[in-house]
Amino acid sequence: MADYKRAKWAEWADHIKSLDDPATNFEKPEALDDLIVIDVSSRSMAGCYCSSLLAELGAETIRIEPPGGDLVRTYSPDGIMNKDTGFAYLQEGRNKFHITLDLETEKGREMFKSLAGQADVVIETYPAGRMDEWGIGYEELSKLNPRLIFASISPFGQFGPESNRKQFDYDNVAQARSSIQYQTGEFLTDGKTYDDMPWAVPTKAGPWIAWCVGGAFAAAGILAALHYREVTGDGQAIDVSSAEAYERLNDYALHWYGDQGHITERFGSLDTALWLYGFFPTSDGGVFLGGLRLEMWKAFVDILGKWDEWGADEWTTLAPFMKEDWQFKYQAMINPETSKYTSHELTQKSVEYAKTGRLAPITPVVAEIVSPWQTMHDNNWIERGMFTPVQDPEYGSIVCAQAQWKATGTPPRTKWVCRPVGADNGYIYLKYLGYGPVMLEELKGSGVV
């Protein structure tokens, strides 16, 4: 039961919880359980994440790896393996049947065609043109199956001058290409070099965000193509570049350069367009501070006890605070003040101010910058089912980030986290190609599966 003070609208919270609590997910229907998806992605978590999304929504998803397994199985800090699988793929093998198939062989390609002939969606991440060279690209497959939706995720896309580069898609390279890394990171202080401050460089995000965004855009495209297919009966080819997908989430940097010739540079943990908005140090870590209205900024200054000294009475607009030099000036004034408190004390001061401050109930947003360890142990997320372990038949009880949204009708869910390499060869090849154990042994002997 909730041990916090209930909201005035608690009845609504209880009502929605009764309809969408993930604890009841398995009682509900699945949105995509009429679909067959083939994921033949290679070396790329963009493809694996894309097919995970569809698999979490109920699609029968067949993951094809080369005999011996895809390289993604080895993605793991320190090279740590759990049976045959690294930590990363323990997240992205979810809900998929895993089979092996050597596409370098003619027999393998023939079998692939048979599977694709029965599928609704194919996802692939080979360098552009590779599937065509093998005779299993969209042109060939659409002759067999005009309803097929064929999604390619690659570094440079399927057309355009750079698309003939035969490279695989990697997250850190896509982040670099997106221009977002360029404008993220600490800035060099005057007179210092990169050797003095090796951390003050263009900095990528820790997570594989370019891969996730590439995979997510591909999934959105696939679902939109499905809508169109229901109307017309036609499948189609989909082309996503992970670098472009992530770049689309860069805001106005392109427009700014086009209009003003301005290159957006690194700005530390401040924000070019917002104030009060950034990370600030505390005695035991740091906090995010947000106060996008003048009153919220004033309330924050009041919390620091600087209302008179900094002249908050005189402020009538936030506009000048967004200027670059003002941001630096006030950052330098704020840092020593926030450093006097722990993150928790500062958060509590904000909560208290909302009750008793001179501008109450207005108060700034104060959020502790926590480690993912703290996140994983935060009761709020645990109660909302974000970290409910998956009871996997092969890998045991595994903590996963659970579905990205909650829904009353067809919520996404995770049934298993992964399967060993080739674990479902028997089931899938029997179900789709009619191959029994004898045939399968033969194929194994010749190295096709």
């Binding site: 916090y4 909201a7 919270a13 309809l19 229907p29 993605y75 800090p77 090279g79 930590f87 997240q91 570094p155 896309g157 057309f159 355009g160 580069r165 490279q167 695989f168 390279v173 290409r177 221009s179 977002i180 890394q181 360029y182 990171g185 900095t203 820790g206 594989w208 996730c212 997510a216 959105a220 495209g221 679902l223 939109a224 809508h227 169109y228 080819a237 770049e247 860069n250 940097a253 392109l254 427009h255 700014w256 209009d259 530390g268 950034g278 990370f279 995010f288 996008l292 910058i369 926590v370 480690s371 993912p372 996140t375 994983m376 909302r384 903590v399 949204w405 009353t408 009708g409 996404p412």
Partner: protein, 442 residues
């Protein structure tokens, strides 16, 4: 080039968008809310953005340093293309009734308000379901609709989500404070995933006729993108720590300072890629070094740091473009770190029509990103940018709801609908001729 995409750009406007025929109603501000519906609009859905008159979306005021584009907030422009703009006062019951009339003719409705606010306006899920049982209703916010943080009515935004999810913690260099991203990633990625949720629900509705209620928290959403972090912590019993530009799961994969003071990212984990990189460095023997013999061995922390040091020393002797070209020649992944200038000048982006010049009736010509999914039969497109508050009231009320001029005038008189306030970002740009771009205005 893959044959199916031959002449893709040339023929873009001879084909429909994939979501042709869908109608979406949006009541949302800032970024998390409005960014998603724009993606649907780029894929051909009719998206009606509802704002409160006369000020509308606060994003119209956001100004990076000292730059507005023709008095408009550039962030507002980037995330709101292709929409129709209606200003409706939902505090008034007549406004709520019009909203419901629109819902009766819509497929999807999107909000980003605090929990239970729509209930106070009589447009909560239970109200709208009565009008349209097939409606797909999504509410996006910081903490969802239930749980401690939601009930404490905590405000949230992108920066808070970066802080609370652990995303910022693992995105800096070791020993340095957590780093905020240069973009509003939790907002924007949330916006995108919200549409994945909506489109999946649409497929279910086609089969069953049933709509549903969806809630999304921007913090929860980004946690899913942190992937390996969670089982790692579970099994190692400790937190994941930051590693700067080094990818902790892939080796080698890092960003390197180059001779020209630019930066290049390299990734070469597969045997063929690693061999290619070693050759490019003129150190083929490294591919046979027992420390680097296969990917799993190379990932051991001491081995990873050793190979990255070797690459870093080599990179300091090459230009960033040279490294990119060596990647093409030797078959490993490499790119110079691109800036805003590259986005604008790079030919590849232009030839793919990913970066294009928009020709807008109100805002003139400017350069913008297109939708990053190319679809052979149904190309998504960007057509126009934002509009002043309430700019398309007449079009929507006439075409969708069949109101005549007298009825529309009456709605204005009662303040149910409104137009822009005479201020920056709300009114039309000063060089607008008063006509171009207006639809069905009498």
């Amino acid at each position: 080039m893959t044959a199916v995409f031959k002449d893709y750009v040339k023929n873009k406007f001879s084909k429909p968008g994939p979501l042709k025929g869908l109608r979406v109603i949006e009541l949302a501000t800032l970024l998390f809310g409005p960014s998603g519906p724009a993606f649907l609009a780029e894929m051909g859905a009719e998206v009606i953005k509802i704002e409160l008159p006369p000020l509308g979306d606060v994003t119209r005021s956001l100004k990076p340093f000292d730059w507005f584009y023709k008095e408009q907030g550039p962030m507002f422009m980037h995330i709101n293309p292709n929409k129709y703009y209606m200003a409706l006062d939902l505090h008034i019951d007549m406004g709520q009734d019009i909203f419901k009339e629109l819902i009766a003719k819509a497929d999807i409705v999107e909000f980003n308000l605090r929990p239970a606010v729509t209930n106070r306006w009589n447009i909560g899920y239970e109200d709208l379901k009565k009008v349209n049982p097939g409606i797909i209703y999504i509410e996006k916010n910081g903490f969802g609709q239930w749980g401690q943080y939601a009930e404490e009515d905590r405000p949230s935004n992108d920066g808070a989500a970066q802080a609370l999810s652990g995303y910022a913690w693992i995105s800096s260099f070791p020993g340095q404070p957590p780093l905020k991203q240069g973009i509003w990633i939790c907002d924007y990625f949330g916006g995108l995933m919200g549409e994945t949720a909506v489109l999946a629900a649409l497929h279910h509705r086609r089969k069953t006729g049933k709509g549903q209620y969806i809630e999304m928290s921007q913090s929860e959403n980004i946690m899913r993108a942190m992937q390996w972090v969670w089982p790692y912590q579970q099994m190692k019993g400790k937190s994941v720590e930051p590693a700067g530009n080094r990818d902790q799961c892939i080796c080698p994969a890092d960003t390197f300072l180059c001779a020209d003071n630019q930066f290049a990212a390299i990734a070469a984990p597969a045997p063929d890629e690693f061999k290619g990189l070693c050759e490019a460095m003129g150190k083929s023997e490294l591919a046979d070094d027992p420390r680097f013999k296969d990917h799993t061995t190379r990932l051991k922390e001491e081995n990873a740091l050793a190979i990255l040091k070797i690459i870093a020393e080599w990179a300091r002797t090459k230009g960033a473009d040279d490294i990119e070209n060596l990647g093409i020649r030797h078959g490993f992944a490499a790119s110079r770190v691109h800036s805003g200038k590259d986005m604008f000048e790079n030919k590849h982006r232009r030839e793919r029509d990913f970066v294009k010049e928009i020709d807008d009736p109100l805002y003139g010509k400017y350069v913008e990103h297109c939708f990053p999914v190319m679809m052979s039969k149904t190309p998504p497109k960007i057509k126009w940018t934002v509009r002043p508050v309430g700019f398309d009231n007449e079009y929507i009320l006439t075409k969708v709801l069949g109101r005549n001029q007298r009825q529309i005038d009456e709605l204005y008189t009662h303040g149910v609908i409104g137009k822009w306030k005479d201020m920056q970002g709300r009114r039309p740009p000063s060089d607008w001729d008063g006509k171009y771009g207006a639809i069905l205005r009498r």
